[in-house]
Symmetry: D3
Subunit: 311 residues, 6 copies
C-alpha cells in the first residue's frame, strides 16, 4: 500500500492481512476491526467459503485510498486485522454460531466497528446477535437471496436464514431493512421478508429502477439510525463473482454496487460483512478481488462517518 512518500510496500510481499492492515490480538482499543470468519457449515450447495478470509488476505492492491469518497480508511481509523473468530469445532454448525456470537459480543463491548469476511452467510446471524441483540439495527442487505427462510433440514442455522434469525433475536429491525438483488428459484422461502415489512428489490426491478432510485430507497429505509451492511457476493452476476456457492444468473455489476455503497457515505454504519467467497470456484480470482474491494468500500464508509460526525 502507498506510504506518505508515495512509495508502496510490495503488494505481493510479506505476511498478508485483510486490506494490508496492521495486526492486533483483539478489538480492544481500536475504532474498527477486520475479522475473518472461516466457517461454511451452513451452505446448502457448493462449499468452500471457509477459505474466503484467506483468499481476501491474499488479494493484492485493494486500497488504501478511496478516491470517490476521498478517504484512506486504514490510515484514518485505528483499525487492525485481528485474525479469525476462534472456533471450538469445525463440525458443529450451532457450536460455531455460539462462538461467533461470543466473539462479536466482545467486539461490541470494545466499541470497535467490525467489518467481517465470511464464511457463509449464516455467520451474519450470530454477528448481528452479538453486536445488536436487544437494540435492533437497520440493514442494507445486498444478495441474490433474501435469506429469511426458517427451519430447514432440522436446522435454523443454515445460510438461507440469518436475517430471520436476526429479527427473531431482536437484533435486526425489518422495517429498516432493505434487500437488494434478489432473484432465483427460492422466492417462496422469503415470506418472512414481506410479512415483517422488509423492503425487497429484485434483480429485475433493480434493472428497471436504476441504481439512483435504489439508492434513494436504501437511504429512506435505513434512515439515520445505526445500520449494518451485509454483502453476499452472489448478489453480483456470476460473470463478476463466479467463486461462490449458490450463484444466480442475472445479477448486479460491481459498478452498481459501488454506486450504492458510496451513496451511503455519511450514514451511521455500525458494521458490515462480505460473505460467500468460495475461492475453489474462482478460477480468475475475480471474486476474491471484488469482495476485497467491497470490504474496502465498507471500511471507507466507517472512515467517512468518523470524519463527518465521529464514530
Amino acid at each position: 500500500q502507498f506510504r506518505p512518500d508515495g512509495s508502496r510496500t510490495l503488494p505481493y510481499g510479506g505476511i498478508p492481512t485483510l486490506l494490508d492492515a496492521p495486526q492486533a490480538p483483539g478489538p480492544e482499543g481500536l475504532e474498527a476491526v477486520l475479522v475473518g470468519v472461516p466457517m461454511d457449515l451452513g451452505v446448502t450447495n457448493r462449499n468452500g467459503a471457509r477459505f474466503g478470509p484467506r483468499a481476501v488476505r491474499a488479494q493484492e492492491r485493494v486500497g488504501p485510498y478511496n478516491h470517490v469518497l476521498d478517504t484512506v480508511p486504514t490510515a484514518e481509523l485505528d483499525v487492525a486485522d485481528i485474525g479469525d473468530v476462534p472456533f471450538r469445532s469445525r463440525f458443529d454448525l450451532a457450536m460455531c454460531h455460539a462462538d461467533i456470537e461470543t466473539f462479536y459480543r466482545r467486539i461490541r463491548d470494545s466499541g470497535a466497528i467490525p467489518v467481517s469476511v465470511g464464511g457463509d452467510h449464516s455467520i451474519t446471524g450470530p454477528i448481528l446477535k452479538g453486536l445488536a441483540e436487544g437494540a435492533p439495527v437497520g440493514c442494507v442487505h445486498i444478495d441474490a437471496h433474501a435469506d429469511t427462510s426458517g427451519n430447514y433440514e432440522h436446522s435454523k442455522f443454515h445460510h438461507g436464514g440469518p436475517f430471520r434469525q436476526a429479527v427473531l433475536n431482536n437484533a435486526l429491525d425489518p422495517e429498516r431493512t432493505i434487500q437488494i438483488g434478489i432473484r432465483g428459484s427460492a422466492e417462496y422461502l422469503w415470506e418472512f421478508s414481506y410479512d415483517t415489512g422488509m423492503t425487497v428489490i429484485h434483480a429485475e426491478e433493480f434493472a428497471e429502477m436504476g441504481v439512483k432510485a435504489v439508492l434513494e430507497a436504501a437511504q429512506r429505509v435505513v434512515g439515520d439510525a445505526p445500520f449494518y451492511i451485509s454483502l453476499d457476493v452472489d448478489a453480483f452476476d456470476p460473470a463478476y463473482a463466479p467463486g461462490t456457492g449458490t450463484p444466480e444468473v442475472g445479477g448486479l455489476t460491481p459498478r452498481e454496487v459501488q454506486a450504492l455503497l458510496r451513496g451511503l457515505a455519511g450514514l451511521p454504519v455500525m458494521g458490515g460483512d462480505v460473505v460467500e467467497i468460495a475461492p475453489q470456484y474462482d478460477a480468475t480470482s475475480n471474486t476474491a478481488h471484488v469482495g476485497t474491494q467491497m470490504v474496502h468500500e465498507i471500511l471507507s464508509l466507517v472512515a467517512v462517518r468518523k470524519r463527518e460526525t465521529g464514530l
Copy 2:
C-alpha cells in the same frame, strides 16, 4: 429442487438430469421433453460442445421456480429428461443430422414440445426439419452469428448455416424470424438473412435500442403463430459465457436475454434449444450455468403458454 414442503433434494446429489426433471424413455405421453444432442461435428473452430448436455445435467440449483413468470415448469408440465438423441456415428456429420431429424419427427408425432441442449448449432437445422417441415414456424434466434451461410468446405451441414437450411427445407418462415445479437467478422456470410426478409438486430444496435425496443420487435416479428426459440450461448458476451466455440467480443448480458425471453411469455412457443456450450473452455462453469438458466426460462414459457391457453 424444492418440494412442496419446502425441503429440497441435494442439488449436488443423485443421478443428474436436465433441470433435475424426472427421466422417461421417450417423448410419448408427455407435454414437454428435455433432450440432449451431444454432437459437435459442425463446428468451425473450438470443438467440445458434444459435452454440453452433460455439463447442463451436472449444473446444480437452476429452477424449479421462476418467480418473474410465477411458474414451476417441471411441476406444471408433464415433462421429462428423455436422454440424448441416439446417433449411429460420431464421425459423420450428415448421418448425425439424419438421426436428429428422425428423432425430432418422433417427438413431433408424440405431441410433446422439446427443449434441447446442444451440441453445436448445426443441430437446429434437422431439429426444425423434424419438427416443422412443411409448416414453417417463426423464430426468435439469439446469437452472435446469423447462421444463414451456404455450402462451406463441401458441406451444408456446418454450424454456420442451420437457419438457411431450415428455410430451404420449408421449416422456417424467414419473415417471422428475428436474429438478435449479431456481430463479429462474418457479416458478409449472412446475405440470405437479408434476402429472405429476416429481421437482424446487431449487438451494437441492441445497445442503442435497449431491450424493450428489441422485445417489441421480436413480438412484432413472430406474431401470434407458433415459433421456436434458438439460443446460441455465444450471443452472450464472453465474460458471461466463455465456454463456447466461436466467442465474439461485445455481446449481450444475461439480464438482457432474460428480459427478452420473459417478454415472450404467453406466445405460442413450439420448441427451443440452447446450443454451443463447450465446457472445456468454461473454467468457471458460468456458461453451463447461464445455459441451464436459459433452458429453464424457455421451459417456463412453455408452462406459461399451457396455463394461459393450453398447449
Copy 3:
C-alpha cells in the same frame, strides 16, 4: 461402454451413472450395487468431496472390460447404480452418519455387495457399522492417513477416525486390517492402529519394500475371510490425485495401487469404497478419473470372486 457387437455408447452422452451401470431404485435383488455418498461434513481441511459421486458419474470411458483380471464386471454381475444415500440433513454430521448406517443395513439385508463413492472418509464408519456390526471384517485400507484418531473438536465422526469407530462398533477386525501408504504429520494420532494390532505400511516403507512385498503382507493380513477395501484417494501422490481435501506429498502411484488391488483377486471382498474426491481441486479431472478406475478395479474383484466361488 462396449456392447456385445463391439459398438459403444457415446462415452460423453446420456444420463451419467457410476461406471455407466444401469439404474435401480434400491439394492434388493441385485448382486452388487454402486452407491454415492455425497457428504463431506467430516473433513478437517478443504471441503468439496460432497461433489465426488457427481464427478465419478461424469467420468467417461472407465470399464467395462478389465483385461488384467479378464472380467466385465457390469456384465457379469447383476449390478446397478442405485443413486445416493438419502440424507435428512446437510448440516448435521451425526445425523448423516445415522442415515448412512441405516442405508447400508438395508444393503446388507438385500445381500448385495456395495461399492461406494464418497464423500469424505468418515462415511466408512457407518458403512462398516451397517454392513458388518457384530461380525467384524478384515480390511485393506489404502490411505495417507490411518484414520484411527479419537474424539476431535467435540466429535468422533470426523474423517480422521472411521477405522477406530469401526473397531469400537465391532464391525472391523483390527488384526485383519492393513493400512497402506500412511505418511504426513498426523502420525501420533494413529496409536489406536498400533495398539489394536493393525498392520501399518508407511509410504516410505512401501517404496522400500516394493509392491509385491506389500501385496503379500496384505494377503497375509486379510487371509481368506471376508474383507472390505477402502481407498482414500489421498493415498496417491498429489500429482496423480490433486483433487482431495488433505493431500500429502510423497504418495503411491496408480500403477502400484492397481497391482495391489488386482493381487487381491479371488479373495472374498464384501464391499469397498473410494473416498475423498474433491473435484473443485481437480483442475485436470485426473482425480475423478483415477478414482473411477479404482471403483472399476474393486467391482472387478467382486466379479472375479463370483466367477471363482460364487458370491
Copy 4:
C-alpha cells in the same frame, strides 16, 4: 480468415501471427505494421505480460472484417506482423526501453503506422518517444490508471509513468490527451495529468456521462491532428479482462470501448497499442480475446483513415 471466395483458413491452424496477417522482416515498404513487445520488467504487481504477444497471436477468429466500420483492414492496408522488438536483455528495464525506442524510430522512418501488443504499459513511453519525439501527438488513453507517476523505487521507467515520460520527452501533447476509465487507489499519483492539462474521465464519471458524451469529449480533445491510441486492458472490468497485472474493480465493458474506438473513425490515428495482457491470469482466455479484438478495432481505424483521406 475469410478469403474472397468465402472460404476461410483454419482458425486454429498454421503458424500464428497477429490478426493472422502475413509476416514481414521489418516495417519498410508497409503502410502499417503489427508488432509484439514482450517485455514486462516495468510491472509493479503481477507479472507475465511478456507473454501477451504470444497470446494474441494464438487467438483465433478475430477479424478480418469489421462490419460496423465496413472495412477489412488486413486486406485494405499493406500490413504485416513484423515480429517482436529485438531486446538485448531480459533483465534491464532501461536497456529494454532504449531498444524499443530504437525500433520505433525505425518504424517512424519507414512511414508505417504501428499497432503494438505489449508487454506492460511502460513500453508506451519509448514507443511514443521513438515515433513522435519533437512533434508531440494527441492521445486517447483508455486505462484504469493515468500512468503519469514520477520516479518510483529508483526508476522512471515503470508502467505507472509512460505518459509523464512521453510529455517530458516532448512526444505527447497533454492538452490533446484524454484518459478514460481511471479508478482505484492510486489517484494521488496522477497530479501530473491535472497539472499538464490532460482530460481525465474516471470510471464512475464514465458511468454517469454515458459513452456518447465521453466520445464527444475524446473527439474534442484530440481534434483533427495526429493522435495515438493506447489501451491498457485493465481499463475493462476484471470480469471481461481478468488476465492482467493490476486489475481494478468497476471498469468499462467491451461494448463501451468498442463504441468509443469506432467513434474515432476518420480521425488521423498515427499508431496504437494494446498492453498489459498477462495470459497466466486469463483462465478463460477472454483477455487475450478482447485484446485481440481491440487490435483489430485500432487497425480498422487506420484502414478507414486511409480510405477517407489517405494515410
Copy 5:
C-alpha cells in the same frame, strides 16, 4: 534457443514455430520437416486435438540441445517447420485423410523425413500410407491403445484403427511393429495386432519387465530396416499428460519413454509423430510440454542417424 555465442532468443518471443525451427513453404530441399496436422474428426471421446500443433508451437524452451544424445538436431539437420497439412474440409474425416496422404506423398517424394504433430491418432494411417505404401516399414508405437480396430460406427478412419489401416494398405509391417504401454478397457478390439504378429507390451508388463527389457524387445522387433515412431501422449500416465482425449490410468512416465526413445539412437528412423495433445484439458500445459520434448527426442534420432550413417 541457444545461439553459438551462448545467447538465446526470447523463449516467449516472436512468431512461434515447432521447436523454434525456421519456416519453409514446403519439404523440398530439406532433410527433415516438422509438420502440424490439426485434425481431430477421428476421436471417439474428448475432442480438441486439432489445437495440438498450435500448443506445441507455443511451448517455450524445448531443445535445441539434446545432451544425452549429444546433438542439436535443428542445427545439424536442414529442417524447417513447413506449417500444417492443408485441408479442404473441417467436416469430413475421409476427405481429411485423403489430404494428409497427398501431402505426405509429397514429403516422401522430397526425400525429407517428417516429424509430425497431431491431431488425433487417425492421422497416422494416411501418413504411413503416403510415406510407405508398397514398402511397409517397421514401427515403434507407444500408446495406451493398440489402435488396430476395424470399422466402427460406419467408418474405418477413426483414431482406433490407423495401424490396421496401415497394414492393410501395405504401409506397415506388423511383424516389425511393437506396441508399448497398452492398457484400458478396449483390449478385445486389438485382435488384429495379435493375428498379424505385432508385439504388444501392456502397461502392467512394462512395469514388470523394466525399461531395458522393453527397449531390447523394441530393438529386436524393428531390426535395422527403416521404421517409424508413433507416440500417442495417452501412453503417459494422465498425471504427466492430462491433456488428451482418451486418457487411461496407470501409464508410462516420461523418464521411461525418454529412455526408450534414446535407446533407438542410430537406428534408421524414417519419420515419426506425436499425437492426441488436446490443450483444452491441459490445465498445467504439461501435456504440450512433454509432447514437444518427444518431438525433440524423435528429431534428435533423425540427427543421430544422419551423423552416424547419413540419411
Copy 6:
C-alpha cells in the same frame, strides 16, 4: 497445526505464515528463521516466482511433525517467520541482490539458520554471499539446471548463474557441491561446474543409480562440514511441480527427493532454500504444496542437527 493436546488450529484459518510458524520482526534471538524472498527479476522465461512466498504461506497442513525423522521442528527450534527481505526496488535486479545480501548478513550475524522461500534461483547467489562469504560452504543443490552459467544478456545476476557467483564470491566450495537432477538443453552452459570440481548427477544418471547411491554420493561430497541445501522445484518432474518458470521433462519424484533430504539428517546444515515456485502456473497448487513440504523437510534437518549435536 497440532497442539500438544491433539487439537489443531484451523489449517485454513488465521493470518498465514510459513509453516504456520510464529512471526518475529527479525532474526535476532532465534535459532532458525523462515524468510520469503519475493523477487523474480532474474528469470529467463516464465515469471511469477515473486508470488512464491505468498503461495507457501497460504499452503495448509504441512508439518508440524516429521514422522520419518521424528521431529517437530517448529516446536523444537526457536524459529519464526520473519517476513520478507525488504527491497528498495522491484525493477532493478542488481539492487535486489544487494538488498538480499545485506539481509542475510544480518541473519548470519544473528546466528540464526535461515530456510528461505524464493523467488527465482538467482537469490541463492546473494544469500550465500551474505551467509558464507570468505568461508565457503558445501552444498546439496537439487535442480534441473546447474546454474553455473556466466554473464548473459549483460548481467551476471540471472537465475542461471548463482552457483558460479557463489564460488567466485568465495562463499561456495565447488568440491563440496553436488548438483542433482540436471537435464534439459542447457548442458553446455555448465562448464564451470565441471571445471571447478562440482559433482553433477544428471536426471538420467539418477534413474540409473537409484536414490541410495545418489544419497551416498551426496554424503561423501558434503562431508561433515557445514553445507547449504538449495532446492529448485524444477528438479521435480513437471507432473509434480508444474508451477515453475523453466520446467524440464523427465525429473525427480518427491519420494526420491524426500529420501535424499532425510538421508542428510544429522549433518551440519547451515541454511537452505526452496525456489522457483510460480503459482500462476500451478493449477492444482501441487507445486506450492511440494515446495512447502520441502521447507518442512529442510527445517526438520536443522532440528535433528540441534537435537544430535546442538546448532
